[in-house]
Amino acid sequence: MPAKTYVQSIINGEHVDFLCEPRQSLLEVLRDVVGLTGTKEGCNDGNCGACTVELDGRIVTSCLVLGVEAEGKEITTIEGVAEGSTLHPLQQSFLENAALQCGICTPGFIVAAKSLLEHNPDPSEHEIRFWLANNLCRCTGYDKIIRAVQDAAVKMQEA
């Protein structure tokens, strides 16, 4: 068994220390070491986006980041998107617009869409489709997801 490395990071605003093997991905660490299973594995090679998290302000597929690379970094996962018991407008909008069916891709979509709206509060439909193109959904055909992001953008600008 390879020696483990001690890693200190900030996850969802909290200081989190963990031990991880050099070969463990951030996705594996989040799910199996830290216990944050909201981040999902769909492909483990960066092509489906189900494991999208925010790392120091940029969205990454956590399956392509090593756990040891989290040293000193700030990470936001789906578990850190709501403010306490208040859903983020995107989460509320996904519910109101029926933008999920099975829900396995939903955490990745919400984390990615949140990042989009932080970079671009008023995106066009094309900009939303472009930004979310690394997040695969097989259930919805994306229509209701795009509408949910548009709806959340409007509500966040009104707020």
């Binding site: 068994m1 093997e21 070969r23 799910r31 944050l36 299973t37 909201g38 981040t39 999902k40 594995e41 769909g42 492909c43 483990n44 090679d45 092509n47 489906c48 189900a50 996962t77 789906i78 578990e79 998107v81 709501a82 859903l87 989460q91 996904f94 519910l95 109101e96 617009n97 029926a98 999920l100 069916q101 099975c102 829900g103 396995i104 891709c105 939903t106 955490p107 919400i110 439909e125 939303i128 489709r129 472009f130 979310l132 193109a133 690394n134 997040n135 695969l136 959904c137 097989r138 259930c139 919805t140 055909g141 994306y142 229509d143 209701k144 997801i145 795009i146 509408r147």
Partner: protein, 763 residues
């Protein structure tokens, strides 16, 4: 008469309205699913959990000469290794899960190969270790000696004279007779109505073509997973993401030769299935490993495993000959459909053949079906299995017929449309169906008459799927605060907690939010068949309706007792229980619920149903595509999906089914395929190379919900999950023909095929 509908992106052509049914409440499991709290199979954990890994065949077709697991067993951290030999006894007998019978040996061999491997990715052995990485390393230490055999990966190769044979004991069943002929054709059957020779002699125009559809995968984002614990008391517990917990229980009972009561299946949340999460793959291996180690064992598939060892649906070859009089009356049709079964018999050809001509009222028709084994993973159901393969052929041929006749393709279909009383070529006669209404909505939709731009083309197509009934159970319990707890056995793959709860709420006159639905394990509810066959909202919804009727009657009786009046003088409507004659005697459902404890005890309702009265569903598409003449790149620029759903319980999730099925069909049409190398291996088993549609590839998918109530359901529900994937492949093909002037007869109709067609046009 023709009247253009006013455009809205999502229309509901409702014929009947209710209080709860037809509204759009937030789904009960929504909060968990947008916050990451919902627990899917891979998220399951328990004390002492071991991790399994599967050794898979590198060959598409080979005889297993020997398996030596000793080096793997010796690796530190490894607790057990299993192979097919760990099944308790020699396999014998036939098992039937309602999807067609298969032999126990084949069922076991598909999860752990015995004498032969039949596709690359075929499971050969399983390892349990303390750490997933150790398990992965250990399988590399298993020494398997193979005698490599030549593979066959298409039906045409497999049916050819002298083709390599997958199963030495597989003999063709020919038109109902068991023959002695060893071949890769498990079965040839025929449906026949009327006299096709006579019909073709009456035709003024005849079209005859061959078509090929490639193998595609369901493409759910969540890989297969299973955790098994063979407890010291002999009971086996399985946590997995499945479409059917009871189906897993049945399969495990058969394969492990155990009574069903010794097995408990706990359905975790499921990350997509589309038919592909009905079979078991990992569960038996995890169970055997748990029996050996005495600890819980979890196994997850990788994405490559999902492609190479689960699903897919069939590639197919087909031939269609269809003839019509000059007025458009179709006089005869012949269809031949040969479908890949994958490694073991049981392709979707049966359903595909029954759907092939279902949309048309045809006097004279034959459909021949061939079930053909090939060196690919055993096919699983995929959304209207077999029907898209058939429609890709038939709907293109009908379009070509319309071209030759100079008729509008919707008018030609309307002229020949199946309706109530039409006898299908495969025998059954239609009850009330909504094909005519669906075609009329297509004709009247503004999309159909909208102008097209340069390099654009428009296509239409229609499709049919039966839907099924089968067993479902629901339990209801009235809570003191006026809410009702609902337990059910249908795994919720896309909002069915809501659509089931809403049917109970409608009966009880309370809000959808006041029903608390929970999906429970196989110890906790009556037998419930798979979430599949577009049956869940129909059949489990029916159980909810029946259980709610029982609760309603008991509530009425309780109020009558409290008021000391006859029960038949009391009624319950809109959440209020009241005397029919005395306006003083009235209380809300919630008030009465609060009194149950002191007036005779709690009230529960339960129902187990196996409803007949299933209503088939027709779908149609109008699609506009634009082809880049330089690169052949094709964009879908406008898409409208139409479907007769009977009654949309929760229209948003019905639209979601229509949009999702449409986009899966678009992917099949334009991009998706199992790309095989000469050794029979899948080359593109990643989500980068197996290119499913992304958000950037698509426009909004407009929907028109057509409601022609199914007389066989209390609210008129037809299943909605599947018919929507049937029309897109031919609709896109027909649009391509309109755009580039050339018809393509093989999926995927990608830029390679289109540039070749464009180049041929120039020659």
């Amino acid at each position: 008469m023709t009247q253009t509908l006013d455009y809205e992106p999502n229309m509901v052509l409702a014929t009947e309205t209710f209080n709860v049914v037809g509204t759009r409440p937030i789904r009960h499991d929504g909060a968990d699913k947008v916050t990451g709290r919902a627990l899917y199979g891979a998220d399951f954990d328990t004390a002492g959990l071991l991790h399994g890994h599967i050794l898979r065949s590198p060959h598409a077709h080979a005889r297993i000469k020997s398996i030596d697991t000793s080096a793997a067993e010796a690796l530190p951290g490894v607790l057990a290794v299993v192979t097919n030999a760990d099944f308790t006894s020699d396999a014998d007998g036939v098992v039937d899960f309602g999807e067609g019978a298969t032999s126990l040996k084949w069922l076991r061999d598909n999860v752990l190969a015995s004498d032969k491997v039949l596709y690359r990715g075929h499971a050969v052995a399983g390892v349990a270790a303390s750490n997933p990485h150790v398990a992965e390393e250990a399988v590399q230490l298993i020494d398997v000696q193979y005698e490599v055999l030549p593979p066959v990966v298409t039906v045409e190769e497999a049916m050819a004279d002298g083709a390599p044979i997958l199963h030495d004991d597989l003999k063709t069943e020919e038109l109902g007779e068991q023959t002695d002929k060893v071949s890769n054709v498990a079965q040839h059957f025929q449906h026949k109505k009327g006299d096709t020779a006579k019909g073709f002699s009456e035709a003024d125009v005849v079209v005859e073509r061959e078509y090929r559809a490639k193998t595609v995968h369901q493409g759910y984002i969540e890989p297969h997973n299973a955790t098994a614990l063979w407890n010291t008391d002999g009971r086996l517990h399985i946590w997995c993401s499945t479409q059917g917990a009871f189906t897993v229980r049945d399969a495990m009972a058969q394969m492990l030769e155990m009574p069903v009561s010794q097995i408990r299946v706990i359905p975790m949340e499921i990350g997509g299935g589309f038919g592909g999460k009905i079979p078991v793959y990992l569960e038996p291996v995890a169970a055997l490993l748990s029996r050996k180690t005495g600890q819980a064992v979890k196994i997850l598939m990788s994405r490559a495993d999902v492609f190479e060892a689960s699903g897919p649906t069939c590639g197919s070859w087909s031939r269609v000959k269809i003839g019509a009089k000059s007025d458009g009356t179709i006089t005869a049709a012949e269809v031949e459909l040969a479908c890949e079964a994958g490694a073991y018999p049981g392709s979707p050809v049966g359903a595909g053949a029954m759907c092939a001509l279902a949309a048309y009222d045809i006097e004279n028709g034959t459909v021949d079906g061939y079930d053909v084994v090939v060196n690919k993973p055993k096919t699983a159901a995929y959304r209207a299995p077999g029907a898209p393969n058939a429609a890709y052929a038939v709907e293109q041929a009908v379009d070509e017929l319309a071209d030759d006749l100079g008729m509008d393709p919707i008018e030609l279909r309307l002229k020949n449309a199946a309706k109530e009383g039409t006898r299908r070529v495969d025998g059954p006669t239609f009850n009330k169906v909504g094909l005519v209404e669906t075609l009329e909505a297509m004709r009247d939709h503004p999309h159909y008459s909208a102008p097209l731009g340069e390099n654009q083309g428009r296509g239409i197509a229609i499709g049919f799927w039966f839907n099924i009934g089968f067993d479902s159970a629901v339990n209801l319990a009235v809570n003191a605060d006026g809410t009702v707890s609902l337990t059910e056995g249908s795994t919720d793959i896309g909002g069915s907690r809501a659509s089931i709860a809403m049917q109970a709420a409608e009966v009880l006159g309370i809000a959808a939010e006041d029903i608390r639905p929970t999906v429970v394990d196989t110890d906790s509810i009556g037998y419930t068949a798979v979430t599949g066959g577009s049956r869940t909202t129909f059949a489990t919804g029916w159980a909810a309706y029946e259980a709610a009727q029982s609760v309603k009657q008991q509530m009425i009786e309780r109020a009558a007792t409290i008021w000391d009046v006859e029960a038949d003088s009391v009624e319950m409507a809109d959440g209020v229980v009241q005397s029919k004659s005395d306006p003083e005697l009235s209380m809300t459902f919630a008030d009465l619920a609060g009194q149950l404890g002191r007036t005779g005890g709690g009230i529960t309702g339960t129902a187990s149903v196996n409803p007949s009265g299933v209503g088939g569903s027709f779908a149609g598409n109008i699609v506009d595509i634009e082809v880049d003449p330089e690169t052949g790149k094709t964009d879908v620029v406008r898409f409208t999906a139409f479907q007769d759903v009977g009654k949309a319980i929760h229209p948003s999730y019905v639209e979601g089914q229509m949009q999702g099925g449409s986009v899966q069909g678009i992917g099949w049409a334009l991009n998706e395929e199992y790309y095989m190398n000469d050794d029979g291996g899948m080359v593109n088993s990643t989500l980068l190379d197996y290119r499913m549609p992304t958000s950037l590839d698509l426009p909004m998918i407009d929907t028109v919900i057509v409601e022609v109530a199914n007389p066989g359901h209390p609210f008129g529900v037809r299943g909605v999950g599947e018919a929507n994937i049937v029309p897109p492949t031919p609709a896109v093909a027909n649009a391509l023909r309109d755009a580039i002037g050339t018809r393509l007869y093989e999926t995927p109709m990608n830029s390679v095929a289109i540039t070749a067609a464009l180049a041929a046009n120039e020659d």
